[in-house]
């Protein structure tokens, strides 16, 4: 039995949810009706909804090509994040000389914005011969410090006695990570997948700089290109936004339970 009534909390949560969902609803409504968002009085329900704005988007720009590019780049980023961050996260749970310095270095690097490192990142990618390639597009996002700490928090929750038992049984460090830690850290894996996917999927600045041919552009660049082509495309523009957002929302909805577990696993560690 609760000491205080719960309805004020639920009311506040409902109000917050409403405030957060209304913009999404408005984008969805405009994408199927094309109504001007500045129209007054605004209509809550779409008038004569149809899907032709989605058809327009599909044909005005090479949407399928941009979608494929975004999928490939995001897949590379997600795979690299899971593998590299798991290894880094496990290393940070072990004791070694200079561990404190490494942790401080990681934390301080989080404060450096990507825009500040974009020129060296471009030069390195160029030297590697990866400009205008899928690997080059994914390279700066192949490991993120936040996700390393998500793995670190998750691995630290595993009892040391379990790791010691694995060592006694002859399992190598590599085996401990992939055969013991990762199966126990599904929530951290899901968090890594979702965060790295969304960051890669929505990235605009790096693909803008590193791509040279139109065939290598990703969806955010396609949106900018679409805006430059069309001037009066309220409905089509919003349809494009929905088509770009949909995969990220779908992935989040599929893995939201593990995602929330992954983000809170460090917070509730005993």
């Amino acid at each position: 039995m609760h000491r205080y009534p719960r309805w004020p909390i639920h009311l506040a949560l409902l109000a917050a949810s409403f405030a957060m969902l209304v913009p999404f609803y408005w984008v969805l409504k405009t994408s199927v009706s094309g109504e001007n968002i500045f129209a007054y009085p605004p209509s809550v329900m779409p008038k004569a909804p149809h899907l032709f704005y989605y058809v327009d988007v599909w044909y005005y720009i090479p949407f399928a090509r941009y979608f494929l590019n975004s999928v490939v780049v995001s897949a590379i980023a997600v795979a690299a994040n899971v593998v590299l961050n798991a290894m880094a996260g496990y290393a940070l749970t072990r004791h070694f000389a200079g561990k404190g310095v490494v942790l401080m270095l990681f934390l301080s690097c989080m404060m450096v914005p990507f825009q500040a490192t974009i020129i060296p990142a471009y030069l390195i990618t160029g030297k590697l011969g990866l400009l205008d390639s899928y690997l080059g597009l994914a390279l700066p996002q192949c490991s993120t410090i936040v996700c390393i700490f998500v793995f670190k928090a998750s691995f630290e929750a595993v009892p040391q006695s379990l790791i010691d038992a694995a060592c006694i049984d002859g399992l190598s460090e590599w085996g401990i990570i992939w055969r013991m830690m990762i199966p126990l850290a599904k929530a951290a894996v899901a968090t890594n997948v979702i965060l790295s996917f969304i960051w890669s999927w929505n990235n605009f600045l790096w693909p803008l700089i590193v791509t040279r041919s139109a065939d290598m552009q990703t969806l955010p660049l396609g949106l900018a290109r679409f805006l430059s082509y069309q001037e009066d495309t309220t409905g089509a523009l919003y349809a494009f936004c929905i088509m770009v957002l949909a995969p990220g929302i779908l992935l989040f909805l599929l893995a939201q339970k593990e995602f929330i577990e992954g983000l809170t696993s460090g917070a509730i560690k005993a």
Binding site: V55, D56, Y59, P183, K186, L254
Partner: protein, 134 residues
């Protein structure tokens, strides 16, 4: 991992989970949609032309306009038969307009027709009505 999950064989766990089911469902819908497109993308536009009294008009010229980036351009023409029917082949657009005219009978306003994919076969739901002096 729950006990029931462990008891299931690996292939079952890989196939029967929400990720696989959702992605497979999307793939199935895409495959069905593409099959439908493949069967209905001959670029045929059919319809009828009638006069103000609702009588079929023979020999009316029907013009197909297609969207060319931002403006509509004339693509092709057809002539109606004795029943006022016309069939236009070679539409390769998803956003078209149809116009009809016969000198001495009148002209039908351009009718916008939106299609769900390029070259979709379409039959106009209502006839084009020639009105005015022509």
């Amino acid at each position: 991992m729950s006990g029931s999950e462990v008891s299931r064989p690996l292939w079952h766990r890989l196939l029967v989970n929400r990720f696989t089911i959702v992605l497979a469902s999307i793939a199935l819908v895409v495959a069905i949609w593409n099959a439908y497109i493949a069967l209905h993308d001959h670029g045929v536009v059919e319809g009828r032309v009638v006069d103000a009294a609702g009588q079929p008009v023979e020999g009316a010229t029907v013009v197909l306009w297609v969207l060319d980036f931002t403006t509509f351009v004339e693509k092709t023409r057809a002539i109606t038969d004795v029943d006022g029917r016309f069939v236009i082949h070679g539409n390769d657009s998803h956003n078209i307009q149809i116009e009809a005219e016969k000198i001495g009978v009148g002209r039908a306003r351009r009718v916008p027709v939106r299609l769900y994919f390029k070259a979709e076969d379409v039959r106009l739901p209502s006839p084009l009505v020639l009105a005015g002096s022509g």
